[in-house]
């Protein structure tokens, strides 16, 4: 078991200093993610203009994988259209479950590729993405990946 595959430098860095942490003053969309068994909690604010995700912020507490995943996601989807973000989530999900051969094309998000060796942690890495989906869909109920 190679832990350095799971806790790659990029993950540790984004966990220590998460990007886009906090709240937006006037989000157009927001949602909450909650994995109560783990104790991962996430609130996501999104500002959508037309079809484009203009800005997003997250806050909450979670493990290094869920925090880094939220941070990496926030960088990756900013400026993307809804369709582009959805396509990216599809790729990330395939990467986490080991179905994506070419993780490298996902750029920094590829740092999460090691999660596929730790099935119990896939839900940690995917929580932020499911929460984003819920926010964009206007869903009110908290999301969970447990």
């Amino acid at each position: 078991m190679d832990l350095s595959e799971l806790y790659r430098d990029v993950i540790v860095d984004h966990n220590r200093s998460p990007r886009n942490r906090g709240r937006l003053p006037a989000p157009t969309h927001h949602a909450e993610g909650d994995n109560p068994l783990c104790g991962d909690r996430l609130r996501l604010d999104v500002d959508v203009a037309g079809d484009v995700i203009r800005d997003l912020r997250f806050e909450g507490s979670g493990c290094a994988i869920s925090t880094a995943s939220a941070s990496l996601m926030s960088e990756a989807v900013k400026g993307k259209t809804r369709a582009e973000a959805a396509a990216l989530f599809g790729d990330v999900h395939r990467m986490l479950t080991g179905e994506l051969a070419e993780a490298a094309r996902l750029g920094k998000l590829a740092a999460l590729a090691g999660v596929r060796e730790f099935p119990a942690r896939v839900k940690c890495a995917s929580l932020a993405w499911h929460t984003l989906n819920a926010a964009l869909a206007g869903s009110r109920a908290p999301v969970t990946t447990e």
């Binding site: 078991m1 806790y7 783990c38 104790g39 979670g62 994988i65 942690r121 940690c124």
Partner: protein, 414 residues
């Protein structure tokens, strides 16, 4: 416990460890340090073999057949009941109901004892440190009857407030349900005092003993509890079997809670008559193999000596407490003066799940999460903790392995 420690010879740890096949494993290239005993303890070979022997040679249905195997299976099953009776010093084997585990035992009491007796406005008192299995069955009962749940608070050490408990006992209190030992914090409750106060007021008492029986001798007659529940798999036996001890006069007045075979004397479409105690509460073919494994685990605990086990585990707790105190940013959650041998803690800047993963990579098995005690986590303002819980076979070296793995995790993640 200190008096006990001086009075008995120590456990022969090398011999004890050799009795548990799983302890010889290596995990991720390291010797396994199994510190998740409060979730489920490993089984000695004698318990595993007793089950295998039953399955290979004596397997049959119980209480029915006249053939040899059925008689042997019945003798083994009822023999296990007698062992369980002696284990908690119950007055009679009729008071020992085999169930799937503590959770089922508490649900049985809620539905069979509680539901017919409770009315709207009645009260059930539980403590803040209960496991979900000693909260949710009572919530269901409240929903069915209109009764109310009252919660005894705890302090920052994880000690249950006895004075507040006394204040909560009122004219409408019908049931007091409390843990003997907290699974999340390790607090040992002075249950005898709680029970005495409830009994004086004619209130029924239900004790969740799942975390107590592996660590200390329990005498239900001395405690005076009406109901006392425990699970085999926390005391070195198999999963899927546990015991509800219920005082006979109460049990005799309770309706069956599940219907089926084995719990009846006669069945006709005009009506059925219920079997004698405790069989009335054991509908269907029981978990004979599980009971056999439980009986073997009880024998094993008896041979090891419960006083010796308690002394050894107290030493491990003291050693772990002082060792972990030296780790920067580590905070113990649960610091009651009377504690069972577990340490629940948080480490600043590192989520318990990351700790759990790093510890596992070093062969150290701990539990991370809310330990099925979310109200406790909420009280301490943490989403989750890491919990190392010790059993009779654990060693100081394993505490050292925990300590070193924690330092490794901190270097890696903080």
């Amino acid at each position: 416990m200190a008096a006990v420690r001086e009075a008995v010879a120590p456990l022969d740890l090398a011999r004890i460890r050799a009795d548990f096949p799983a302890l010889a494993r290596r995990v991720n290239g390291h010797p396994l340090a199994y510190l998740d005993n409060a979730a489920s303890a490993q089984q000695p070979a004698v318990a595993i073999d007793a089950v295998a022997d039953y399955e290979r040679a004596h397997h049959a249905n119980v209480h029915r057949g006249v053939h040899t195997l059925s008689q042997e299976a019945t003798a083994l099953y009822e023999g296990a009941r007698e062992k369980a009776r002696r284990f908690v010093n119950a007055a009679s084997p009729a008071e020992i109901v085999f169930v799937r585990g503590t959770t089922e035992a508490i649900n049985l009491v809620a539905q069979s004892f509680g539901r017919p007796r409770l009315a709207a406005g009645d009260e059930i008192v539980v403590t803040r440190l209960e496991h979900h299995s000693n909260i949710v069955p009572w919530q269901l009962l409240c929903g069915q009857t209109g009764a109310r749940l009252r919660v005894v608070p705890i302090d920052r050490r994880g000690v249950v407030d006895f004075d507040e408990f006394l204040r909560l006992l009122g004219p409408r209190t019908r049931i007091v349900a409390l843990a003997h030992v907290s699974n999340a914090l390790g607090t040992v409750l002075p249950v005898a005092e709680f029970i005495a106060a409830a009994r004086e007021r004619g209130i029924a008492t239900v004790v969740d003993g799942a975390q107590a029986v592996p660590h200390m001798p329990v005498d239900v007659q001395a405690l005076g509890s009406d109901f006392y529940a425990f699970s085999a798999h926390k005391m070195y036996g198999p999963t899927g079997i546990g015991v509800l001890h219920a005082r006979e006069p109460l049990l005799a007045a309770m309706p069956p809670w599940q219907g089926g075979g084995d719990m009846i004397l006669s069945v006709s479409f005009e009506g059925s008559t219920w079997n004698h105690l405790p069989h009335r509460f054991e509908a269907g073919t029981p978990n004979v193999a599980g009971a056999v494994g439980l009986g073997a685990a009880i024998d094993y605990l008896g041979r090891a000596g419960q006083a010796r086990i308690a002394a050894h585990e107290q030493d491990l707790l003291d050693y772990a407490t002082s060792k972990l105190a030296g780790i920067d940013g580590l905070a113990l959650v649960g610091t009651a003066p009377a504690k069972s041998s577990l340490v629940s803690f948080t480490v600043e800047g590192i989520h318990p799940h990351d700790l759990g993963t790093v510890l596992d990579s070093r062969g150290v098995a701990v539990r991370t999460g809310h330990h099925c005690a979310m109200p406790v986590m909420e009280f301490f303002g943490v989403p989750a903790t890491t919990r190392a819980s010790f059993g009779l076979y654990n060693t100081r070296e394993e505490v050292d392995a925990l300590h070193d793995a924690l330092l490794h995790a901190i270097r890696m993640l903080r």
